[in-house]
């Protein structure tokens, strides 16, 4: 069981959280103006890297708040958690973290 560091509640069991896909993917400012390709990009295409990735998570059975995390998709290590609306922290690929 991983422990995830909710920015509001601190370390809690992984099972209290739900995953919400890639972070920093804003809703298009003017959806009507998008081409089919741009609309497809926004709806269906998300990064799927091997390594670090910024994601949205929600502390579903805790404070129920959304937050962002930088996580390693191979070791699953959470390198950082940070509040929604703040930029992605700059984390070197081999920095320690919380498992």
């Amino acid at each position: 069981m991983m422990l995830i560091d909710c920015p509001h509640c601190g370390l809690r069991d992984e099972t209290e959280f739900e995953y919400g896909s890639q972070a920093h993917v804003p809703y298009p400012q003017d959806p009507q103006a998008l081409t089919n390709d741009e609309w497809a990009q926004w709806l269906y295409f998300r990064d799927n890297p091997m390594g670090l990735r910024a994601e949205r998570w929600v502390h579903l059975t805790g404070c129920r708040k959304w937050f962002n995390a930088v996580r390693d998709t191979v070791s699953y290590e959470f390198k950082a958690t940070y509040p929604v609306g703040t930029p992605r922290p700059n984390i070197p690929p081999h920095h320690g973290g919380i498992r």
Binding site: N36, A40, L43, Y44, M50, E55, T73, V74, S75, Y76
Partner: protein, 405 residues
Amino acid sequence: MADLLPEHPDFLWRNPRLKSSYDVVIVGAGGHGLATAYYLAKEHGITNVAVIDKGWLGGGNMARNTTIIRSNYMLDKSTRFFDRSLQMWEGLDEELEYDFLFSQRGLITLAHTDAEVRESIRRVESNVLNGADAEWLTPQEVKELLPIVNISDAIRHPVMGATYQARAAIAKHDHVAWAYARKASAMGVDIIQNTEVTGFLKDGDKVIGVETTRGNIATEKVGIAVAGHSSLLAEKAGFQVPIQSRTLQALVSELFEPVHPMILTSHHIHVYVSQAHKGELVMGANTDPYTAYGARGGFHTIERQLAAAVELVPIFARAHLIRVWGGVVDISPDSTPIIGKTPVEGIYINCGWGSGGFKGTPIGGYTLAHTIAHDEPHEYNKHFGLDRYYTGHLVDEHSASGVLH
């Protein structure tokens, strides 16, 4: 039943030297890559083909799956596609002249809520209209077919009925990979293991070769069938696939006398279980929820699935968990595979099978081979192209049935 397995020759396929050019290079020697090479040779006479794998043949998801083969999907397009695959399975061991213990033992899919009962009955009707066999069973009929199931009202998720597909099957997955490899190799296909494809050589928007850990290969046609690694290879080739890679886990118990002669699934509480020919109970769960390349999942996922299994089949409580493993599965937005052309001329892709692509091995290979040979999709995969995400013509099996594997 283990004595039914065929005697093994020392080598089932040749181990040739990698040539500097091929008519077609297939990346990934899983079920889909090997089947593609086989159908290229058999159906299209294209035998100057290499199948290249970074590991050993059939060592990816092909080695890790729980081998459920069924065609009771919801949408017309998917049911027809998967039923065609099931029809191909029905003669495949004879065609490949190799036994892989294909066993049509029937699949019971339990319904536990009113909504599930309605959805299941609707799916049965839809399956029948599409020519796939399907029946609705009452709880008593479930009990008669499979006495080990607990149909008592006094459990957390009582059985309210089930769909039944009698033609559904399991098979020995490794042997399926070997059977395709053996025939493809005999027709001239080179199977090259322990060789990673690291990049692509292009002339503008056209592929002219692949880069590998053993040097470059010239080719004008490439088929990519790498499951959970599709995004990484597509990126190297210069296009995108709408895939998320996730962990799917499965497990086995120790060996038992035959107690469970069928396949039992519950989508509501997420467990599916069959008993392999050797005697172990083989079980799988839902995918772990997040993007992952580690081929490891959370133990709580396993715990949940075991709890569900023990509730539905109380005698399983005595079984011991022997082995748990994970695979990196390729989840598409509509839970339908992607088989077709890509934005790069000469590159074709087969991916997006998620947690259920073993059953699609024959049809996936057959349609990818056709698409490569003709530069056009076959009737069976014409709705399954990458372009559907741009036109909006999704084959949204996920919303339609929510059924996995």
